[in-house]
Symmetry: C2
Subunit: 411 residues, 2 copies
């Protein structure tokens, strides 16, 4: 039988009752003869609670110690899940990230996986055991405990699936799969049955929270078939996999992101190299930038605007402080009254009709477009925050509900 | 300056406020120039709470997984204490038992320390850091996480003090030191300033909970000076150390233990080898036995009585089940209405006057002595549970309060 990697998120193991449910599901696969490797997150809001304690002691606790602290959350989950499986007669063994051979860089709180040493997992699988691995964590060459950043359990699962050449990496979550838009905003949103790595990667980077961007990139790199599905139902979810090139350009989903801030640097000297200096300073502080535009120069000055994730605001403040030592600025504004809507699909930016229909849809709503950015896989518009919901609905109607192509494979 | 090992128990780090207090105390030693290695237990009742979750999933969870689960408790404590030290400007680093080089046997939930690899601790000390080690836990040669059993943090501290050749191992607890009797029962009980390893070991084995027996044995073996003192005061506590041989036999303390059960096997065949079989069966089940007596044989039968710790009752039931397959018994009784009182001091059992005064004191109270056992360092009597408190008080008066020898060094 085949080797399956399953990942269960925090809400799937939020309490002992749910841990028992997860154990029952694993048991079914085990009894069918599959080799099962399970990746588990911390129970419910454990990670937030631990972090809150650390921050009560110091607003900026040392990241090495934060990792030491947070890693306990997943260790509790894996041990309890192993005991729940024991209670159901299934032999299993729990492993910390380090024990499972997840070797990472030493960039604490956002370490990257360097490689996976799977010998120990394979040994336990050969002994007929379900192997339960603590997600979100790893160990450096020096034996230091690291964590992989938010959503890191997805990355653990995809990395293990790649290293073990698993048939599938199942990501269990509290929704039924990847949708054409957020169902809370667009009731007619449909579950997407199949989506390509590239499209899923773009959606993840645009704020779709169902699957972590880095996990998608791992899956794409190693061609891991990912199945995003619900812990609480038996329905098939969304397959993320290699999708053969399709002739038709089509919009796969409408995404939106409210956790963005527009930053404008006013009166930047209009000289060669200045924009590069600004961007370098921001990128050096690990800020994610998007939608950068410069105004036309006037009187030797120009404005530079860009969009950042809300969580990076602190870093941007810091970066701009060091920037202002090198470069006179007339001012800086932070605008939180914005949101980003995007249409996603392979090749959308290459088809001018799609951009036209997007802008036309927003124009008919009377929504002002502040900034635009595109890639091969998406067109994004920055619009007023309070117009995002109706814009997503209208775009969904334009591109998804009215599309016959979609209907052929809609769920 | 000198190297000091400090151990803080669960009540000393029960919440963030107490963790800050502990950090302040460590900071003082650090600023005085000492090299400090700190061993910490899990916060408050964390271990019990984790164990309760495991047992809700299965009454007898696999011990390997229990260790995986419980080890998180101390890992949380060390990380938080390190963050608290950072907030007070003290450089520190936290380590799991495994990272600290505590190598143990693979007998999960009650592993024994095989050796301590101190290279990593020494490296951090050379870097000028306070090193904070998770107590109660270790790692096997195979990288499996183990725990050392109840009170194991004391053992971790004494083992580290031995391996690091520390000047002193300070055991911080919620009492002022080791007392001549339990102060809750005997208000006149005095703090003992100095006590020998042998006497402390005997007291620990008799139920004095202030210092774990295995820790004392470690300290004795490696001649670690132990200082038992209060987290909540600056007073000197009790020094456990090599005490030069004293001419005078003296009683150092009166201990008592209510967590005991008297077991009687009725009608055991009175044949050679039977008692050995009974004892072997019990010892094989890891039961601690004390005060074993056999009745006189009658009609080819005899009774065998012994005393066990209350927590071993389950194991004894199990052992007797397997015993009864080999050996016909007329019956088994468990008597929980008993308690043990002991007088402790080097050589007490060699001086018949002490035994006489002990029995005489109890006789004058009208307390019936059910069983007696002695070692070089103590005389113990099993008496009715409801007479223990007054017996301890009377014995304390006889041996401690009336003793001029003690008065000379009483605190």
């Amino acid at each position: 039988m085949s080797l399956i990697v399953q990942k269960y998120g925090g809400s799937s193991v939020a309490d002992l009752e749910r841990i028992r449910m997860v154990a029952s599901r694993i048991r079914r696969y085990f009894l069918e003869g599959h080799s099962v490797v399970v990746v588990v997150s911390a129970m419910g809001k454990t990670t937030d609670a631990l972090l809150a304690m650390a921050q009560e002691l110091h607003p900026l606790p040392p990241e090495r110690e934060v990792d030491m602290l947070l890693a306990t959350g997943e260790q509790v989950s894996v041990a309890l899940l192993s005991i729940a499986l024991f209670a159901q007669g299934v032999p299993s063994v729990s492993l910390t990230g380090g024990q499972a051979g997840i070797i990472t860089t030493d960039t604490h709180t956002k370490a990257r996986i360097l490689r996976v040493q799977v010998e120990r997992i394979l040994r336990y699988l050969r002994e007929g055991k379900v192997v339960i691995v603590a997600g979100f964590q790893g160990i450096t060459e020096d034996g230091e405990i690291t964590t992989l950043g938010r959503g890191g359990s997805d990355t653990t699962a995809c990395a293990l699936a790649a290293a073990l050449q698993a048939e599938v990496c199942e990501i269990y979550t509290d929704v039924e799969g990847v949708f054409t838009a957020d169902p809370r905003i667009v009731p007619k949103a449909r579950k997407i049955l199949r989506i390509s790595y590239d499209e899923m990667s773009e959606m993840a980077s645009l704020g779709a929270k169902v699957l972590q961007l880095r996990a998608v990139d791992f899956a794409r790199l190693y061609r891991v078939r990912v199945h995003v599905r619900s812990t609480f139902s038996e329905n098939e979810g969304t397959w993320v996999e290699e999708v053969e090139n399709m002739e038709d350009v089509k919009v796969r989903a409408i995404t939106h992101n409210l956790d963005v801030v527009k930053v404008v640097l006013l009166g930047v000297p209009d000289k060669p190299g200045v924009a590069a200096l600004v961007l370098r300073t921001l990128v050096d502080c690990a800020v994610s930038l998007d939608m950068i535009i410069q105004s036309e120069g006037r009187e030797g000055k120009k404005d530079i605007a860009f969009v950042i994730p809300r969580e990076d605001k602190g870093k941007v403040h810091k970066a701009l402080e060091s920037l202002q030592k090198m470069l006179p600025l007339e001012g800086v504004t932070f605008d939180e009254g914005v949101g980003k809507v995007s249409v996603v699909g392979a090749g959308v930016a290459n088809d001018p009709r799609i951009a036209f229909r997007m802008f036309d849809t927003l124009a008919r709503l009377g929504v002002n477009i502040d900034m635009i950015s595109t890639s091969n896989l998406r067109i994004s518009c920055l619009i007023p925050r309070d117009r995002v919901a109706e814009s997503v609905s209208a775009l969904h109607e334009t591109f998804i509900e009215d599309s016959e192509v979609m209907l052929r494979e809609g769920s």
